[in-house]
Amino acid sequence: MAKMRGAQMVVEAMREEGVEVVFGYPGGAIMNVYDEIYKHRYFQHILTRHEQAAVHAADGYARATGKVGVAFVTSGPGFTNAVTGLATAYMDSIPLVVISGQVPLSMIGTDAFQEIDAVGISRPCTKHNYLVQSARELPRILAEAFYIARSGRPGPVHIDIPKDVTAEVAEFVYPKEVKLETYKPTIRGNVRQIKKAVEAIKSASRPIFYLGGGIIHSNSAHLVRELVDATQIPAVETLMARGTLPHDHPQLLGMVGMHGSYAANMAMSEADLLIALGPRFDDRVTGKLSEFAKYAKVIHIDIDPSSIGKLVPVNYPIVGDLKAVLQELLPLAKKEIDPDRYAKWREILKRYDELHPLQYKDSDEVLKPQWVIERVGQKLKGRARITTDVGQHQMWTAQFYPFTRPREFITSGGLGTMGFGFPAAIGVKRGVGDEVVVNFTGDGSILMNIQELITAVQYRLPVINIILNNSYLGMVRQWQTFFYDKRYAETDLSIQPDFVRVAEAFGGVGYRVKTKEEFDKALDDALSKGVVALIDVIVDRYENVLPMVPAGGTLYNMLLEYKD
């Protein structure tokens, strides 16, 4: 048994957990911990230039690798800057451990310098949080935090450590195993329920797989592919499930929801059975709840019981880890289900897809954002990780990029955090090594964490940012066009920085392109040089994301085109 300071326990715990990288930003209350980082060098520390970016980078790293992402920040503003990162990870169930410094125990509650009630703020946007009271409990709390973050429905865990606790000496024994009396996620699904679900699929005539982010978190995409192939039941993906099936899979109808494909949304509306694998019936998917899949019975498999039946009544609830449940379900489904049964249904949906395929009108005069995304797909399909910020470019990427595998597409879904894409891409790049990382962003989003150019340059993490620049806050502009009579309140971003010079000022490479030829040249150049790049792509100012289900509308009532 070794005696050591609380601060050293923190870095020792990182070693015990196999943490290879921590993203962070030092400050007064966490200096003891940074002192130990300096002494021990157990892991790489990446100094972002804003705490929000540190948490997004840890988040991107976690999404790309499946490991727990770790970030360190100081008290007060260091912590409050990190909150958007916590909330982003919480909404998308991403495993993080975020450690913040706090003022000494004796000063808590005195409105001390850089004091804020951090656990009070993080409580509603973390899976769990801790305010550490003594160094004695630190090893247990650190081990619990990693266990809670990655088990069950994953999520961020926040540990707030007062400065005197990091200075306090106590014995360090890192728990080999964490057992919590009050927290025991259900892993195995109920076998009788699984059998009933298979029976329901057998007797359905218009079943549909509704694939959600739980597939990615549980690493069960290969099992889902096997199930879809064996049953030949058509499938739709949520934003968070993109890449579960390859983009050209014969049963994949595309993305579902507000900007889903016509065929996917009609399939949901006409199905008689939803087979929901780890989705959460988000309002951006369901539209008006009373009209959502109203002819369908529902099978819902999810590790979080509170997700089941929260918004839509479920006929066959199965609580469990999706992978474990699919391992039970798959042999039954293969034996019992005859794919020919759904031939007519597949035919109907194919006709829907032919009637209104996902499309855009290309142009020779002006670059279309969808073309840019497709072009990147042609060049990099299957060998790049794609991150996005939030807005029109995000939806176009989700619609038009040819995804081939899980964890290929990394985006802020639930919280919709502008400024996520670039720092997340830095974390992704750190996690995936030689693979190319492309961040599709907008001229609005990129400015929300542009300072991270210097982080990417410093640590040689060559992320290629492609700004689909329409000089608008495009998604809000689109809503203003459709629903606000073109009153473009505060969405015109015509006054812009020179992104080429911004990139250069930070030590990266910038390109400004207006034609297909220029884009090809810029992308090839950035790829061959392996540099941190900003490609400022001037695109059609008034392109809209379509189809669109207006907020609160019904899935079968899509705007398929916009007529001025």
């Binding site: 009070g120 809670i148 009050t182």
Partner: protein, 155 residues
């Protein structure tokens, strides 16, 4: 609004546990009609009794969300239960205390303290009867009424 429901929560007796529970109710828009909390003797847990309102879907969500909190050990939604609530009140000494005492006795109560100007009375009974008691008490011009909130135990 839905019907009145009583939920008991067994939670680790630790820093911030109560905030997690009340915060959850506030954040998700659930109503708390009354809440009582005290440590469970001889254990590291506390027991909360929450009276709330909602249709069955809302109650189901409340229970699932409570379960999801890491320090929550058990959530009990009562169907068969014994409920009690306590009330204390100050009655001016010039009121007819014999009548007050008779009223208290009818509701498992008595006069517990006589001060300079007021008598303190208490009663402990089912929540519905406590409401009746408070109604009946009004004619004695109570200066102050304090209710405890409900405690419940399953039959």
């Amino acid at each position: 609004m839905g019907e009145r429901r009583v939920i008991s929560v067994i939670v680790l007796n630790e820093h911030g546990a109560l905030t997690r529970i009340t915060g959850l109710f506030a954040a998700r828009g659930y109503n708390i009609e009354s809440l009582t909390v005290a440590p469970i003797p001889g254990s590291s847990y506390s027991r909360l009794t929450i009276v709330t309102q909602g249709d069955s879907q809302v109650i189901e969500q409340i229970i699932k969300q409570l379960h999801k909190l890491i320090p929550v050990y058990k959530v009990i939604e009562h169907s068969e239960l014994v409920e009690k609530e306590m009330v204390m009140a100050k009655i001016p000494l010039e009121e007819r205390l014999a009548d007050v005492e008779a009223l208290c006795r009818a509701y498992n109560g008595n006069i517990v303290n006589i001060g300079k100007d007021t008598a303190i009375i208490m009663a402990a009974d089912e929540p519905k009867r406590i409401r009746n008691f408070i109604e009946a008490l009004k004619r004695f011009n109570p200066k102050e009424i304090v209710r405890s909130g409900v405690v419940a135990i399953e039959r």
